[in-house]
Symmetry: C3
Subunit: 353 residues, 3 copies
Amino acid sequence: MTGEAKSSVGRFFEDFAVGEVIHHATPRTITHGDVSLYTALTGSRFALPSGDTFARAVGYPRSPVDDLLVFHVVFGRTVADISRNAILNLGYAGCRFLKAVYPGDTLTAISEIIGLKESTNGRSGVVYVRSQGVDQEGERVLDYVRWVLIRKSEEGSPAPDPLVPDVPSAIAPDALGDAVPEIDAGEWDWRLSGSPSRHGDYVVGERIDHVDGMTIEEAEHQMAARLYQNSAKLHFNQITEVNGRYGRRVVYGGHVISVARALSFNGLQNAFQIAAINRGRHVMPVFAGDTIHAWSEVLDTASLPGREDVGALRLRLVATKDRPCYDFPYAEPDGSYDPSVVLDLDYWAVLPR
Amino acid sequence: MTGEAKSSVGRFFEDFAVGEVIHHATPRTITHGDVSLYTALTGSRFALPSGDTFARAVGYPRSPVDDLLVFHVVFGRTVADISRNAILNLGYAGCRFLKAVYPGDTLTAISEIIGLKESTNGRSGVVYVRSQGVDQEGERVLDYVRWVLIRKSEEGSPAPDPLVPDVPSAIAPDALGDAVPEIDAGEWDWRLSGSPSRHGDYVVGERIDHVDGMTIEEAEHQMAARLYQNSAKLHFNQITEVNGRYGRRVVYGGHVISVARALSFNGLQNAFQIAAINRGRHVMPVFAGDTIHAWSEVLDTASLPGREDVGALRLRLVATKDRPCYDFPYAEPDGSYDPSVVLDLDYWAVLPR
Amino acid sequence: MTGEAKSSVGRFFEDFAVGEVIHHATPRTITHGDVSLYTALTGSRFALPSGDTFARAVGYPRSPVDDLLVFHVVFGRTVADISRNAILNLGYAGCRFLKAVYPGDTLTAISEIIGLKESTNGRSGVVYVRSQGVDQEGERVLDYVRWVLIRKSEEGSPAPDPLVPDVPSAIAPDALGDAVPEIDAGEWDWRLSGSPSRHGDYVVGERIDHVDGMTIEEAEHQMAARLYQNSAKLHFNQITEVNGRYGRRVVYGGHVISVARALSFNGLQNAFQIAAINRGRHVMPVFAGDTIHAWSEVLDTASLPGREDVGALRLRLVATKDRPCYDFPYAEPDGSYDPSVVLDLDYWAVLPR
């Protein structure tokens, strides 16, 4: 007897059906330990999740957990059921942060399969999945869609009816801000936050070089992915990956987002919350030894309905590898990405007005 | 004056005497920070130590600390007095987890020398030691025996009378479960735990490939050993180890146990507690860059006296390096270990019935 | 529009003026997570910050945060404003620990520019800065002076009037001990602390080899510096550093201090607090792969005014790279440093009497 029924090699494309709802394993209590590790792995310096006193002064009960740490913990739960056999994480969209999370909160994740489309080569297919993070009170803290290219277990197996779900290209401003309590912007200490630039100081079209770079080590991205209990094998297993697509372990894309976001502190110091991710794309894989730089462009600016305390900026966050961003590398003349670009993230940030 | 009396090069074989009791230094309060690091270093996904809500639902006051984290912290305390000059950690036996440990508890360690046997070459000897972990209330949380090969300081020094203690080959089922409160198995959420397989679903002789592999980095095993305040020099000092037995730093064997145990989640999702380690052997050293895979075999199944809530499985956990375990590598035809095997651990796990 | 006003390349020598006061960004709540990471990154084994029960027995409310973790967190806050363009951190002096810090406390940092001196080559200058760490009650926890060599942005720019501040060569004993509550030395458990050697057992001139060595990995020093939110680019950016002075990333000097201090446990087990740093100098940069050893010399011994519970030792802590310290490497016959020496730290430690 071999126990094949007890351990799992993960799902293949054929194993998904539209409409299926999956309750993912391993509830996770997020603690101060997770917060410290997130700081140590990313170098984030935003004031709100760093200092309880800062958070209290503006109206939070204490420092909330960094939005991206919440994202990664929820995402991590989904991997064993969704993307263990992923070839590529193709994109994210429609991601909203719905409720502030604090150390001590316990998160679980639920996903629904909302679309399937076999690749033309018949060897893989795209799975569209909507995932939600839920806290210990049963309230949603996060909601997002991702689509991911998954291997088929057998090349000749029949294709499902293709269904590509409608995903909004951007979250509307009136759907932002649920996770941000009414803040007392008068108590926002612009010295402690690192910059006097408030919402109104940013203009559409403005581009910001975040200057710094961060080299990623193998131990770092592995610790990050394991912290999130993300079990995607391509991050961890050198002896399988050496024969894989890239010949080596691949950095969890979410770690790249977090490093880029941490770098963006230098220029977006007061962008204290990620209210929504409109679209995200890992343009190129990142490997240990790569150095990440980042720049941002202000795509739009918006009020939040009924709120005088904060406003939103729609930002494009571009990360590169092994190339500084003082000249804002993005697209080639033919419309393709500059070869240094690894991340193209379109998100809404919230800033004090 | 050189302060030789103040710092220590560690004990050699001649420095041990049967019957000696050692109170080890540095009490350690285990915190949420330790728990997060343990997750980040091992990737463990068991529900009970991960989510307070899960733990509370079944009857724990909150998530207990992972058993192996408790083991490593107690073990770590003993190293400076016992095994700084260890050539090899030969084995563990008779290890029982006696009381659940929670973040905030403070552990100390006490050891007694229970046996000594000089090697035939006269250059080293085996020290048998029984160690106990004690919490802030003076109650034992852990009790185990290990034996370790220690250098002599002088080759010609006289051998002690050999005494090889009687160590049980296995813990009897009626000595298991002290650290597991009566749980409400009806509240065990089999979706959140990751599998519907309960105690009765495993049968003797069943073998489970845990599928995944984990490559260990130098920074990771060093951080793990330091987290446990394990000061064995062979884990940390490249310039002495380059002239040592292996020419490089050696991964703390306990880190290999933890990685293998974390991998075993895929197939033993509900094996929520390690009640006892019957025997453990580090068959081969592990180095940075090695990739660990693991498989398990069910050796026995048992009831716990008077308990309807949980049962025990006796398991053999085998870890390999640089070799997947789909064909369960273990012994060669001549009885020697398969050359890929690094760990052979015989333990009792507790599962809901 | 390029957002140059929003992100910063850091200050150059010309950007500093004597008398300027800077309130640094990002208040930081120090948590158990930070404490665990500090242990995992340094291997520190001192009893007081490790075990709450030990701390309570002698009169602390619980384990205080390691003094050097406090130092690094305060220092980290100052980097973005002071030393992003540092060529070299030249030294520390007049550093006093003024109040015990506990997990949950939130620290901010304030600096005053107290001196400026252009280099003779006209391409850089030394900035003297006094920095203070302040807790959530507005009380000072740390006060120190450092001087750092900073690039000029333009070679020909005019030199400021040189002002080299008076920095005491050592803190007087009557200014020590503010952060140490009256302890009940009778409750000091000399077994749990790791050694029976109390204040009076050390004599001036005594030298102690700390025996052990610790190899530093790239991921470790990066995690340490990021944990402290230290954003000095030379620690993190391989693609800029490859063209920099050393061709590679440089380990944050504070991490070297912490590793050396952790090693010094073996010989100074009861030196439970760093009361003051008289002078500190990073003699040579340290890189990933280097192995740190350390030794100490007792420079002086002192009573603290009105205190029978504790006394102070003035210690020289010397760290080397890739060379054990059994023969106490320090100076060459010509007075220059032994080429292995990386750190020369003169500090006051507090021990029970």
